[in-house]
């Protein structure tokens, strides 16, 4: 891959010269409609909520509207000091200032999500490829993987605590175990769906089985696997919350639990917003990465419109 990139470099510069440089404001103009629609979409949702509150349909004690729970950010932030209970970095005696506590908590949860996702994808992709590459390995592992795939992450929670106690490890374990089996099956499915012509061309060119896998199958399955990875990012966010909420560590899940135990709906909704913004941003980030890395995949492919 690295070799291919350097070879492609002069061509890429040619192309850029040919297209001329794109000014920064044209990018903003291009993105403007999407930004506007995002704002409208969120505004609509929040607006309906606010109207329900204004009409007295939504009890502010149970369903505080956005302006209430977002207005009290500084107030809510102090609850993020769950961090001090698990003694991470910050002084043990006195908790970190509220704003910093929010940052610590978010970083802790995000870190688990990404470490878990990274471990799960590396394990899943290599296992999936090995299953199709070595028939014996397939016979030994695939039945078990299929049996384990439908098990809910909740069922793994006690296992996580038995094995790893509390802290980062069980939360990461939960993310990995929740995603691993599905991603293995997705990888196998992608391998089976590789265009037969690609394989036949490679075989006609004299490629060995190993070369077919490394030169054809792996690049061919990457785009779809990246999309699987993006969807699993959402899955990872869900699981990490469950893991944290049930006491395997500090983090956003603990904050939600605190909100529940202290009957603080504002805190719960504030945390939900935080998770939504984080998850959405990381999805956007991964789409950007996808465009850069998987440059041959058309950006708009798969969007059904115009019916």
């Amino acid at each position: 891959m690295a070799e291919a990139r350097t070879e492609a470099a002069p061509v890429a510069t040619d192309l850029r010269q040919w297209q001329g440089s794109v000014p920064w404001w044209s990018a903003i103009c291009r993105l403007a409609p999407r930004i506007v629609w995002t704002v409208v979409s969120i505004g609509l949702f929040a607006g309906i909520w606010e109207i329900c509150w204004a009409l007295g349909w939504a009890d502010p004690k149970l369903l505080p509207p956005p302006h209430v729970f977002l207005g009290a950010i500084s107030d809510q932030a102090k609850f993020f000091n769950t961090v001090s209970r698990w003694q991470v970095g910050a002084g043990q005696a006195e908790p970190p200032p509220p704003a910093l506590a929010v940052v610590y908590t978010v970083l802790a949860t995000t870190g688990r999500v990404f470490v878990g996702l990274l471990i799960a994808s590396i394990l899943a992709i290599s296992t999936g490829i090995a299953i199709r590459y070595f028939t014996l390995f397939e016979r030994l592992t695939l039945p078990t993987i299929i049996l384990l795939a439908p098990v809910s992450p909740i069922a793994w929670l006690p296992v996580a605590i038995f094995l790893f106690g509390i802290g980062n490890k069980p939360a990461i374990f939960m993310v990995v175990i929740a995603l691993l089996f599905h991603m293995v099956l997705a990888t196998i499915n992608q391998i089976d769906n590789v265009n037969r012509n690609f394989l036949n061309v490679a075989r006609t060119m004299g490629a060995t089985k190993r070369q077919v896998y490394f030169h054809v199958i792996i690049p061919a399955i990457l785009p779809q696997l990246f999309i699987v990875l993006r969807f699993n990012l959402f899955g990872a966010w869900m699981v990490v919350l469950v893991a944290e909420a049930t006491g395997v560590g500090y983090g956003l899940g603990q904050v939600i639990m605190l909100g529940r135990n202290t009957f603080n709906p504002s805190l719960v909704f504030f945390t939900i917003v935080l998770i939504g913004v984080l998850g959405g941003s990381f999805d956007w980030l991964m789409r950007m990465v996808q465009r850069k890395v998987l440059y041959w995949v058309p950006h708009e492919a798969g969007t059904l419109r115009g019916l």
């Binding site: 492609a8 002069p10 490679a202 004299g206 030169h215 054809v216 690049p219 061919a220």
Partner: protein, 273 residues
């Protein structure tokens, strides 16, 4: 294995098939006989068009010759060697585009060379020459999705040529193209073929392509595919598609093909009722 098989002929022929047959899913209840008793000799440098109704096993024959599938009866030889594996000397070109979308055009063209472990400089040079031969030197650094369907098929031909094949196996390579582009591609292929000196086995169900290109036309029967008749073509090249000779050939082929298409339809109707 090769030594145990009787070789009843000299190795001068590029391709020899004897009693070649293929049953898909042999031994299962859904077994389907695709090819039966194919005997065929192809000389080096000869352009042979395999013509037949859809689903008559023409493509199966190419897959057997390419070594991608195994015959269920009979054997085929390539310059005297038994065909039992794929080889770059017998390049197969497909109907749909088969360029790797993640590689640049030149990387696609030199794919087989990178499999062999050639260095980058050498690969670029060979790719440049191969692209020049198909008239696409300017596409060198482009991506396959930036090219039109006809250009992509030319790149596929360049990729095959880069391996210096002795036989080009072409499976309806221009079927997905519009009529004008296809006519252009026929001219182009005629030129490439005469320069390369390779034999070409060209599968099609278009009579026009047979008239424009073939030294010999092998007409197949409906399923299971057998050789119905072999028609030699001695029209001068470049072909005048409106000459009396071409008209005559067109009529013969149309007649021959129509019988088989009718037979295939009658069989399908008999099955349905």
């Amino acid at each position: 294995m090769a030594s145990r098989v009787f070789k009843p002929f000299s190795s001068k022929s590029a391709v020899v098939c004897r009693n070649l047959g293929k049953v898909w899913g042999e031994g299962t209840p859904r077994a389907q006989e695709a090819l039966r008793d194919i005997d065929l000799d192809i000389a080096p440098g000869e352009f042979v068009v395999l013509l037949g109704p859809s689903g008559c096993g023409k493509s199966t024959l190419l897959f057997l010759l390419a070594g991608l599938e195994r015959a269920t009866s009979g054997h085929c030889w390539f310059f005297g060697d038994l065909v039992d594996n794929p080889s770059p000397e017998r390049s197969l070109i497909f109907q749909e585009t088969s360029l790797f979308p993640w590689l640049r055009v030149w990387q696609n063209v030199s794919f087989g060379l990178s499999i062999r472990g050639l260095g980058v400089a050498e690969r670029r040079e060979i790719a440049r020459q191969a692209l020049q031969r198909v008239g696409l030197a300017e596409a060198f650094g482009k991506r396959p999705d930036e090219l039109s369907g006809g250009m992509r098929q030319r790149v596929a031909v360049a990729r095959a040529l880069a391996m210096r094949p002795k036989v080009l196996l072409m499976d309806e390579p221009f079927a997905a193209l519009d009529v004008q582009t296809r006519t252009k591609m026929q001219d182009f292929l005629g030129d490439v073929w005469s320069q390369s000196g390779a034999s070409v086995l060209f599968v099609t169900h278009h009579i026009e392509e047979a008239v424009a290109l073939a030294d010999r036309v092998v007409v197949f029967t409906a399923r299971p595919g057998r050789i119905k008749t072999i028609i030699p073509v001695d029209l001068p090249r470049p072909r005048d598609l409106f000459s009396p000779g071409a008209e005559l050939l067109r009529r013969d082929l149309t007649q021959s093909l129509r019988e088989e298409v009718d037979r295939a339809f009658a069989e399908q109707e008999a099955l349905a009722s």
